[in-house]
C-alpha cells in the first residue's frame, strides 16, 4: 500500500492516535466550540493540518472525512463497482484478495486523498491555493482566480479544481476525475461524472473544519453529504517525503505483511 518507512510511520501514528482517541475526540469537540466571532473567521488557511482521530470504521483512525454512515444507496453501476472492489481495510477486507489501486502505487486523488490519517499543508498565493499531501508526496492546485470549471476536462486522478469564498467558507469545486480510483479506502466508487465539493472554515487559529459533498449520479442515487470533520494546526511539522514505490511495496509485503498474516497485497 505504502512504502515501508511510511507504513511504519503510519502504524506508529495510528497507535498513538488510538491511544489518544478519547482525549483527542474531546479536544476536537472543545476546538469546535471556540470559533471566533461569526462573520470574522480568518481567510488564511495556511499551515500543516492533521485530522483529529475518530472511530467511524473501527479500528481505523481519522478516516471519516467521507462518512460511511451517510452514504446514499448505490446505482446499479455503483454497486457493480463496489462489488468488484477488494479493500485492504474495513468489514469487506479479505486478506490476500485486495485490489486497492493504491497497492499498485496508482496515484491517490480526492476525495480519498482527504480521508487518510496523514497531514497536509495549505499554501496560498495570489490566484491559487496549493495543497501538499504527505501521502504519496502528492500536490494539488486549486485555482482561486475566478476562473470557472472547464467545460470538458480530460479525466485525471486529481481532477480540475476551482474555488471561491462563500462568506467565511472556502468552497472548492472539482470535476474532471477519472474512474480509476476509489472515493474512499473501502471501495466506494468514483466515476467520471463526479462533482466534488469541499467546504473549509478556519474555526479558530488552531482548527480547520472540512466538509465533503460527493455528487456522483453515476455511482450514487443522491449526493453523499458527510458531516464536517476537524483538523488541528501543527506549526512545527514539515510534510515529509513519502513516495509509493512498487518494488519497495512488494518487498514490504514479502518481509513483513505476509509473514505476519496481515492482508498481503495482491499484485
Amino acid at each position: 500500500m505504502i512504502s515501508r518507512l511510511g507504513q511504519v510511520c503510519f502504524l506508529a501514528l495510528a497507535a498513538a492516535l488510538a491511544a489518544a482517541a478519547v482525549a483527542q475526540t474531546n479536544s476536537a469537540a472543545e476546538a469546535a466550540k471556540k470559533p471566533s466571532a461569526p462573520g470574522a473567521l480568518s481567510h488564511d488557511l495556511s499551515g500543516v493540518w492533521m485530522p483529529y482521530p475518530d472511530t467511524d470504521v473501527p479500528p481505523g483512525t481519522g478516516k471519516n472525512a467521507i462518512n460511511q454512515a451517510t452514504r446514499p444507496p448505490l446505482t446499479p453501476w455503483g454497486q457493480a463497482q463496489l462489488d468488484a472492489a477488494r479493500p485492504l481495510l474495513g468489514p469487506r477486507a479479505i486478506p490476500g484478495q485486495e485490489n486497492s489501486p493504491s497497492l499498485k502505487c496508482d496515484p491517490d486523488g480526492p476525495p480519498k486523498l482527504l480521508n487518510h490519517p496523514n497531514p497536509f499543508e495549505i499554501v496560498q498565493i495570489p490566484g491559487r491555493v496549493f495543497m501538499f499531501f504527505e501521502e504519496q508526496h502528492i500536490w494539488r492546485t486549486v485555482w482561486a482566480d475566478g476562473r470557472p470549471l472547464p467545460k470538458d476536462p480530460d479525466p485525471t486522478y486529481l481532477g480540475y479544481s476551482v474555488s471561491h469564498w462563500d462568506g467565511d467558507t472556502w468552497v472548492v469545486e472539482t470535476a474532471g476525475f477519472n474512474d480509476k480510483q476509489w472515493a474512499d479506502p473501502y471501495g466506494n466508487p468514483r466515476s467520471e461524472e463526479m462533482h466534488l465539493a469541499e467546504r473549509y472554515r478556519r474555526l479558530n487559529h488552531d482548527t480547520l473544519e472540512q466538509q465533503i459533498i460527493i455528487d456522483d449520479p453515476k455511482s450514487y442515487t443522491k449526493p453523499w453529504v458527510s458531516p464536517p470533520k476537524l483538523y488541528k494546526l501543527e506549526p512545527g511539522w514539515e510534510i515529509a517525503e513519502w513516495f509509493c514505490i512498487p518494488d519497495e511495496d512488494k518487498s514490504y509485503d514479502d518481509t513483513v505483511r505476509k509473514p505476519a498474516g496481515v492482508a498481503p497485497a495482491s499484485k
Partner: protein
C-alpha cells in the same frame, strides 16, 4: 523517449505545446550549428539577452528548457552535460555498467532498467535534465518547484537554515537556497542511491552534494548551472555548462503521473510494435 511519453500521455494544452515544441526541436536539431548551450534562432535567446545591470530575484513562472544537440536524437537533456563528466570511481563504474538506459548510445532495446520504468519517483539532478517544463513559486522562507514529470514537487528552504547534519536518504534530498548577488544557489544533500544522475545511467550516490545556480538573465530567460560533487561516484566534481530556460507565461503544469498499468499498456500498444526500446518490467 520520455518526450514521446510526454506527447502521448498529456492530452491537454501543455501536452499539445510539448508536442509542438518537440517537432520544432526535432527539426532544429539538424539545422543547428551554433555553439553548445545556445539554441538555433529563432527558438533560442539572442545576444540582446545578455544581462545588463541588476537581475531580478523573482524566479516565478513556468520554465521550459531550450533544445540542444548534446545527445543526438534526444532534445533538451543536457542540464547535466555528458561531455564534461569526470572519470568514474570503481564504485561509480560498476553502477554505470549495471545501468541499461532507455536512451543514448548505450541503449539496448529490451533490457532497459531505468528506475522510472518501474515508476520510481524522479529526483534531482535528473529531474532538471528532462525536456519538460517546471514551475517555480516563491513564498516567504521557501521556493517551491513543480515538475510535470511524475507530478513531482520539491521545496527549497530559504529561511537561513543550514543543511541538516545527517538527513535520511531520500529521492529528492534536502534543499536549502541562498542568494549570492544575482545568483540563487541551491545546495542539496541527503540523496538515496536508487536513482540515476541523468537518463544515460550515470550514478548518484548517497554522498552527492548537488549545487544548482540560477540567474534570471532577463524577463524571459532563466539560466541554470549544475555542479555534482559526488566523491563516491566521480573522481572530481562534475561541472556542467549553464543551460537556458524560456518563460512560458500561458502554460500550466499538467497532471502526468507514472502509473504502472498505463506504462505497461503504453509499451504494449505503442513502443513494442514500433520496435523502439520496449521497457523491461
Amino acid at each position: 523517449m520520455k518526450l514521446r511519453l510526454a506527447i502521448l500521455k498529456t492530452k491537454n494544452l501543455i501536452g499539445a505545446s510539448v508536442a509542438a515544441m518537440a517537432l520544432v526541436f526535432a527539426a532544429g536539431l539538424f539545422a543547428q550549428s551554433v555553439p553548445k548551450g545556445q539554441a538555433a534562432a529563432p527558438a533560442g535567446p539572442t545576444a540582446s539577452d545578455t544581462p545588463s545591470g541588476p537581475l531580478s530575484h523573482d524566479l516565478s513562472g513556468v520554465w521550459m528548457q531550450y533544445p540542444d544537440g548534446d545527445v543526438p536524437g534526444v532534445p533538451g537533456m543536457n542540464a547535466v552535460s555528458n561531455r564534461t563528466r569526470p572519470p568514474l570511481t570503481p564504485w561509480g563504474q560498476a553502477k554505470f555498467d549495471a545501468a541499461k538506459p532507455l536512451v543514448g548510445p548505450r541503449a539496448i532495446p529490451g533490457v532497459e532498467n531505468n528506475p522510472e520504468l518501474r515508476c520510481y519517483p524522479d529526483g534531482p539532478p535528473k529531474l532538471l535534465n528532462l525536456p519538460n517544463p517546471f514551475e517555480i513559486v516563491q513564498i516567504p522562507g521557501r521556493v517551491l518547484m513543480f515538475f510535470e514529470l511524475g507530478h513531482t514537487w520539491r521545496e527549497i528552504w530559504t529561511d537561513g537554515r543550514p543543511l541538516p547534519k545527517n538527513p535520511d536518504p531520500s529521492y529528492l534530498g534536502y534543499s536549502v537556497g541562498h542568494w549570492e548577488g544575482d545568483t540563487f544557489v541551491v545546495d542539496t544533500i541527503g540523496f538515496n542511491d536508487k536513482l540515476w544522475d541523468d537518463s544515460f545511467g550515470n550514478p548518484r550516490s548517497d554522498q552527492t552534494h548537488l549545487i544548482e545556480r540560477y540567474r534570471r538573465l532577463n524577463h524571459d530567460t532563466l539560466e541554470l548551472q549544475i555542479t555534482i560533487d559526488d566523491p563516491k561516484a566521480y573522481t572530481k566534481p562534475w561541472v556542467s555548462p549553464p543551460k537556458l530556460h524560456k518563460l512560458e507565461p500561458g502554460w500550466e503544469i499538467a497532471e502526468w503521473f507514472c502509473v504502472m498499468d498505463e506504462d505497461n499498456a503504453y509499451d504494449n500498444a505503442v513502443r513494442k510494435p514500433a520496435g523502439v526500446a520496449p521497457a523491461h518490467k
